[in-house]
């Protein structure tokens, strides 16, 4: 099978007191078509920055100093801004950790979803709204009409994550990047959202880059796992290989942490 995304030797550095501090130091990994790759690691290991670097939506103080990210054979990191905006949201979409703060508080859910539809699919407002309604039904929201005219703060965290998912999938992306999408939610909602994500993946057929610090989730959903530590990918392999024969001591630490939680 051909690789959808190939990240090679990615290096990201932060400006701090007029000098550069590397945060991601030569990360290399790939995602195949239709695959679920889990990027696991402790908080602060550089997972989120890796995800943001792929389409270059980093904070101002961070710059990519080396590496490539080939998406369907084309390097995104050398692409100009105009071409990138065409990929973001259409070919590669994101969902984030705290949906409520990642949605704009002063616009209705409807405006925020239709915005991306109108941008990438050249649809008028009415069509976009109808499509948004369908999308909300797709993510199992029972009263799409009400949700569309609501503001994010009026909805629960779980509901907002569904909204976010609908917004991300609006243009049928080939790659969905999910950055700890369930960490801020409670356990039952977490299970629902994960199930929804797996179901949608089956019907829509996108690849999924799932970022988490929680190996129990990784075990449940992953095809393959990459373990990240201090800005590097330290281990990569199938779920069985990672859990049965971890090579790197950091992987063992993560597994230990997961087993402790399991025993509780």
């Amino acid at each position: 099978m051909e690789n959808l995304l190939e990240v090679k030797n990615l290096k990201v550095e932060f400006f701090s007191n007029k000098s550069l501090v590397p945060v991601i130091d030569g990360a290399t990994f790939f995602i195949k078509k239709d695959e679920i790759l889990v990027l696991a690691g402790e908080s602060g290991s550089g997972k989120t920055l890796t995800a943001l670097s792929i389409t270059k939506i980093l904070p101002n103080s961070a710059i990519i100093t080396a590496g490539s990210a080939k998406f369907m054979g084309v390097d995104l990191l050398t692409m100009d801004e105009k071409a990138l905006t065409d990929i973001r949201g259409r070919e590669i979409a994101y969902i984030f950790q705290e949906p409520t703060s990642y949605l704009n508080p002063v616009f209705t859910v409807g405006i925020q979803i239709t915005e991306v539809i109108m941008l990438h699919q050249n649809k008028n407002k009415l069509d976009a709204f109808n499509e948004a309604k369908e999308l909300l039904s797709l993510v199992k929201i029972k009263d799409p009409q009400r949700v569309l005219s609501s503001y994010p703060h009026q909805l629960s965290g779980g509901m907002n994550q569904r909204v976010f998912l609908a917004m991300a999938l609006a243009c049928k992306p080939k790659l969905l990047i999910a950055d700890e999408p369930t960490t801020a939610l409670d356990v039952t909602i977490e299970a629902q959202i994960l199930q929804l994500l797996l179901d949608l993946k089956k019907t829509m057929g996108f690849s999924l880059l799932f970022i988490t610090h929680n190996l129990s989730i990784a075990k449940k959903i992953a095809d393959r796992i990459c373990v990240m530590c201090k800005g590097k990918i330290v281990e990569e392999g199938s779920v069985d290989k990672i859990f049965d024969a971890p090579e790197h001591f950091h992987t063992r630490e993560l597994i230990n942490a997961y087993e402790k939680i399991g025993k509780l």
């Binding site: 943001l52 389409t55 939506i57 904070p59 801004e81 990138l84 905006t85 065409d86 990929i87 973001r88 949201g89 259409r90 979409a93 994101y94 984030f96 705290e98 703060s101 990642y102 949605l103 704009n104 508080p105 002063v106 616009f107 209705t108 915005e115 991306v116 941008l119 990438h120 503001y151 703060h153 009026q154 917004m167």
Partner: protein
């Protein structure tokens, strides 16, 4: 929303009471007898006359009775007569109010029109020469006394260059002008007063807008907007700007006391017949009724300004409008 407005309006009643109470205490601060204070300019007045006047004005009664009598008069908008010309205080204020309000509203409008885009530009080009120079200028403007700026500008524009008239709001031959000439004439007269009354507020709003915009651009939802593939312009002028502009509405109400206070000084300097100058004249003549009426008026205006700002803010910010 409507219940919110009503609740707020109801909350104003104790405030109103407090305002009148403090104003009343200010009058009673005066050492000696109030009648003496008012008629001290008249040396021929006799002691019997003073006693008689005290009775008429009720100054022989206990303080709380005086207060409630006074309050009763206020509730009928009767603030008494001015000692300088014997006219009703209310009439004098009402004829002067439009000038002050229109200058302040005009300068507030101009402040926003210029300060908001200026602050945004500063925020977007953070650290650039434009940003650094403007930060320095704002800091200087913040520290400069308005009346001094007024004097400098007068020196420059009215005397050195002779471009603008030095005082008043119309020229002597105003009557003979056609419509366009009249507008132009008033514009020439009001240019400096509006400029001066706006300068201090301008610096404040520029700085405020800059920091709001910088903060908004660091919020998580900006990453979302970027991840959606929106253009940089859409991200800045739709997603960030809306959030950065909301709190500015509150500033509208909060800048009112400053503007009204500033009116005293620039109306005196530029000889503009507004309530600021009226108040200054009243203070110089110790025209107690006029002083009190104006103090209460500006306090109530400020109170209403705050209320309008709060209600407006609640209206524009959906997080408050639709409280769960």
């Amino acid at each position: 929303m409507i219940t919110y407005i009503f609740r707020r309006l109801f909350g104003l009643l104790p405030m109103l009471f407090g305002i009148t109470l403090i104003s009343f205490m200010v009058i009673k601060l005066a050492p000696g007898k109030p009648v003496m204070l008012q008629y001290s300019l008249n040396p021929k007045i006799s002691l019997d006359e003073i006693k008689r006047l005290e009775k008429i004005e009720g100054f022989d009664k206990p303080l709380y009775v005086q207060y409630f009598n006074w309050l009763g008069n206020l509730s009928r908008f009767n603030f008494g007569r001015s000692i300088s010309d014997g006219r009703f205080v209310m009439d004098k204020i009402v004829e002067r109010l439009p000038v002050t309000l229109s200058i302040n509203i005009l300068s507030l409008f101009l402040i926003f029109l210029i300060a908001v885009p200026w602050g945004i530009r500063s925020a977007l080009k953070q650290g650039s020469t434009f940003d650094r120079v403007s930060t320095l200028v704002m800091f200087l403007l913040f520290a400069a006394p308005t009346f001094w700026l007024a004097l400098l500008l007068m020196q420059l524009f009215c005397i050195q260059f002779g471009w603008l008239p030095i005082s008043g709001i119309t020229s002597l031959d105003f009557e003979h002008f056609n419509w366009w000439q009249k507008v132009f004439d008033i514009g020439r007269h009001l240019f400096l007063p509006v400029l001066v009354s706006g300068l201090a507020g301008f610096a404040g709003i520029c700085r405020y807008m800059r920091s709001n915009m910088i903060e908004a651009l660091q919020q998580p939802y900006i990453y979302t907007a970027r991840a959606k593939g929106l253009s940089e312009n859409k991200i800045i002028y739709k997603h960030a700007l809306r959030n950065a502009l909301l709190p500015i509405v509150t500033i509208l109400g909060l800048s009112l006391p400053g503007l009204l206070g500033g009116s005293i000084i620039f109306e005196s300097i530029f000889a503009i017949p507004g309530i600021g100058r009226l108040f200054y004249e009243a203070a110089m003549m110790r025209d107690i009724n006029l002083i009190m009426a104006e103090i209460i008026l500006v306090a109530v205006l400020t109170m209403l300004g705050n209320l309008i700002a709060d209600v407006l803010y609640a209206y524009v910010d959906p997080r408050i409008r639709y409280k769960k």
